[in-house]
Amino acid sequence: MKPGQTFDLTDKNIQSLEQDGSKIWDTLGQNVSGDEPEASPVPPPLSRPAPQSSHAPESGHSAKAGLKDQGQADNQDPGRARAQPSAGQPFIAPIPKGAASTAATSKAAPQAPSRPTTPRLSPAAPTNKADAASAHDQGQGNQGQRSQGLGNQNQGNGAQANNTRHSASQSALSHAAQRLNQQRSYRWLTVLVLALAALFVLLLLVDTLTGLAWLFGISRALGLLASLLLATALASLGILLGREWRALARMSRQRHLRQLTEAALFETGAPGANEAMLAVEASYAKQDETAWLVAQFRELAPQDAYSAVDRLEVFEREVLRKLDSQAVDLIEENARNTAIITTISPFALFDALFTLWRNLRMIRQVATVYGVAPGFWGSLRLLRQVFANVLLTGGLEAADGALNQLLGGSLTAKLSTKLSEGLVNGMLSARLGLAAMDQCRPLPFKHNRRPRLSDIGARLVGSVRKSIMKGKDQR
């Protein structure tokens, strides 16, 4: 294509136009959609913009397909999530299968080839090919290091490799080598464990089957009942496992996004800012709680007027600010409850159990606010990370120190040990919550103020004192 070339908008070539909820293009949209057959694989590019784009009935078909694929991607390999920026992005229509030469074996990455193949004018085509080729190579490399069993060579990784190719290619390769080495040394251990597990499952299966046969021998009805129960149990087990798996995939996608956004925000010119932004946007647009926020955000900072880094800034200010305040509220509430229960509970063991349970629950709630919604294993993993974070940053001492500061030495001495224990527990809980917040946030804190332990602590002391006083008064 030559610069200066123009096309009619009714042209079949036109693949998609960005939508951001503005109205001026309605006339234009009518032009286009009027001329397009409805069964066309390319949805009307300029149909009336929908408030929550991905759920919109207009784009329903493609959006649903995208969602489904995303789900599958989650199940198969967290790494594939990298290709999702384009999949989840609702306003780019998928390329019809087989249309684009370079790519898209799966729908999950319809837009992936667009970047590598966009031609530069001054250097001619050969460099592009080289670029695309190198991107492709790296895509394979990354894929190889990340997943052994799931060798689904998704070409969409080309896009992701393209993102990271400039700055990260060297380090990525050496990391890959390291990881491969580690994996090799653990390989036989894995085989052993897998073999044992398989044996166990096999025995279990055989046992169950013989048991079933025995029951059928006694009575047909009993056998049927037992097989029905077995089937139900198996199905629910499958569903549970699937959920856990998806939750884990979601978490690792979030972590990956976080890496991308951090790079985009703190290293100028880092590649992948746009992909990161689109992925973040898409993942929040999918969730009912945040869809309206994202729709608002899209109107406020449309993609064709703001650069990716600017959009990240607006996203943090507009969308994450609300989520942050929700999370802080949650953390405060939990810290207060923990503090009060610890103060009034008579048994140390009960304290410990209660605190553990509350903290686990709080971490899950915080994660849910940010749309991560961890399953059981996910929560444990998050807890582990959070603890690591807290220990690494010396958070526990900080909690103590902050408490002393807040109360002043003499006041602490006057308070009963029980109350101060409760407050320490509450502060620990708050500290965990803040760490969880940091873990689950898709963007690092940059333009919003990071909530501080001392803020929460101050309110915690106040509210605990008030509730205990209130208790006294009532008595």
Binding site: F7, I14, L17, S101, L121, E299
Partner: protein, 482 residues
């Protein structure tokens, strides 16, 4: 006065010291009254012709008046801009900026860009805001900021370098440029007429008029071809304003006459008129409107120059550098305001018409501008002013589209191209990564088309679409609204 602007170099010692004294007196007066007066910001919207000054001012005023929410303009994003009104302008002898006519034209069913500016005009926008600053908050409200905006024909800006040149030097420069092969064809009628004339004799007024006309035609041709834009001087020849036909606009550059100078000859008279032009046109324009600026936004049509070719890019760079020498950037403090007069403490370089490129190239456009304006920007930074660069489109007239051709996807823009009834998708090509590449010329030059503003702009849910307007406002006004 080592920091004196070039215009003062040519002034006599007496003039210089009286100018200094005048600045001191007005500075003292300002300092004394400042705490009681409403804070006022004189924003200099600087740009050559067709760089989008009028659209920028119109869009700025409209967006602030309608209370639109800008995500990256902090005062607006935080909802601290309570209201804004247009108030009587401070200079009662200037025409008012035709804001209403401009915005009506843009929002009409057949929208049009504002017509090119032919004279000076002024507008005062007063913004009422809630400060975050504790000291300001302690003061009784309402907290107001007057924003004084001036629109003027960009052609006039190019006169500023004339202040440092006398007639003979300027003529030499213009004549040398006219002999350049790219311009020679346009200059030919004028140079031929010059050749037939004895410049040292007295001439009829008709000769002045004729030569001035031929010279003006040459300037017009150059402007149309985007050539030599740094030297389209005198600017009033192209945009005479209300001086059309006056003797101070009836001269042209001439080669130095041989032999002794005849005091009533053609050359000497033209030199006199040149000096009169400088004294009565250029200097007042500069003194009244540019020497007191607080902040400046420099609008540059880098894309237009790139489309016109490497020579136009060079010219643009020269023009920027020479024009900006006339301004006085630097950090302000109350003491420096008192003794040196006001300085421009923030300078924003904006590459306009960013909507002619898909959004993934905006960063590159800003980067190219930072290379193009390196010298003036560096000078401003050296003197303590804040400098920033961005890609700007005060009113975005296009949308992004992806067009697939032969298996490749191209980032295109769609919009109403001038002269075509239907909106079209348009592939603008890609900008090179560095200015050096741009100056070497790009294989396929970015084709330049003019997009019309889209219809129904006023029905946008979030206000007029734009690129980078909020960031500009945050940079230029943000600290004053804190």
């Amino acid at each position: 006065m080592e920091t004196a602007p070039p215009l003062l170099h040519s002034a006599s010692v007496l003039q210089r010291s009286s100018a200094g004294l005048g600045a001191l007196v007005s500075g003292v007066r300002e300092q004394i009254t400042a705490p009681f007066a409403e804070p006022t910001l004189r924003l200099g919207v600087t740009g050559l012709s067709r760089s989008g000054k009028t659209v920028f001012i119109t869009a700025l005023v409209h967006n602030i008046l309608t209370g639109r929410r800008f995500p990256l303009f902090q005062a607006s994003a935080q909802g601290r801009l309570t209201a804004a009104v247009l108030r009587p302008q401070p200079n009662l002898d200037l025409p008012r900026f035709a804001y209403e006519a401009n915005i009506d034209g843009l929002l009409s069913p057949q929208p049009l860009w504002p017509e090119s500016t032919w004279r000076l005009s002024q507008l005062r926008l007063t913004i009422s805001y809630r400060p975050t600053n504790l000291i300001k908050r302690a003061m009784p409200g309402p907290h107001l900021l007057n924003l004084d905006l001036i629109d003027y024909p960009g052609e006039w800006l190019l006169d500023l370098p004339l202040l440092t040149m006398d007639f003979a030097d300027w003529s030499d420069q213009v004549l040398a440029a006219a002999k350049h092969p790219t311009r020679a064809t346009y200059a030919k009628p004028w140079l031929d007429a010059l050749g037939q004339m004895d410049l040292n004799t007295t001439q009829d007024e008709r000769a002045y008029i004729e030569l001035a006309r031929l010279y003006t035609n040459y300037l017009r041709a150059c402007r149309q071809k985007n050539l030599m834009i740094a030297q389209l001087q005198p600017g009033r020849f192209l945009m005479p304003g209300d001086l059309e036909g006056s003797p101070s606009l009836t001269f042209c550059p001439l080669p130095r006459p041989r032999g002794s100078l005849n005091k009533s000859g053609f050359f000497a008279t033209c030199a006199l008129r040149y000096e009169a032009y400088k004294r009565h046109v250029v200097r007042p324009f500069f003194r009244d409107h540019f020497s007191k600026l607080d902040r400046q936004i420099v609008l540059t049509d880098l894309l237009g120059a790139a489309a016109a070719g490497p020579a136009a890019v060079e010219d643009l760079q020269t023009a920027l550098t020479t024009v900006l020498q006339a301004f006085r950037p630097g950090a302000n403090s109350w003491l420096s305001k008192l003794f040196r007069g006001r300085r421009i403490d923030k300078m924003l370089f904006a590459s306009t018409k960013a909507d002619h490129l898909p959004s993934n190239q905006h960063d590159r456009l800003a980067r190219l501008l930072s290379e193009l304006a390196f010298e003036p920007a560096n000078n401003a930074k050296f003197r303590g002013a804040d400098v920033s660069f961005l890609a700007l489109s005060a009113i975005k007239s296009t949308r992004l589209a992806k067009v697939r051709e032969q298996g490749r996807v191209y980032d295109c823009i769609t919009g109403w191209i001038e002269g075509q009834g239907q909106p079209k998708a348009f592939y603008p090509g890609e900008l090179p990564d560095s200015l050096a590449e741009l100056k070497r010329g790009i294989d396929a030059p970015l084709a330049q088309v003019r997009f019309l503003p889209p219809p129904n702009l006023d029905q946008e849910p979030q206000g007029l679409p734009h690129i980078g307007l909020d960031r500009s406002l945050d940079f230029l006004l943000g600290d004053l609204l804190s």
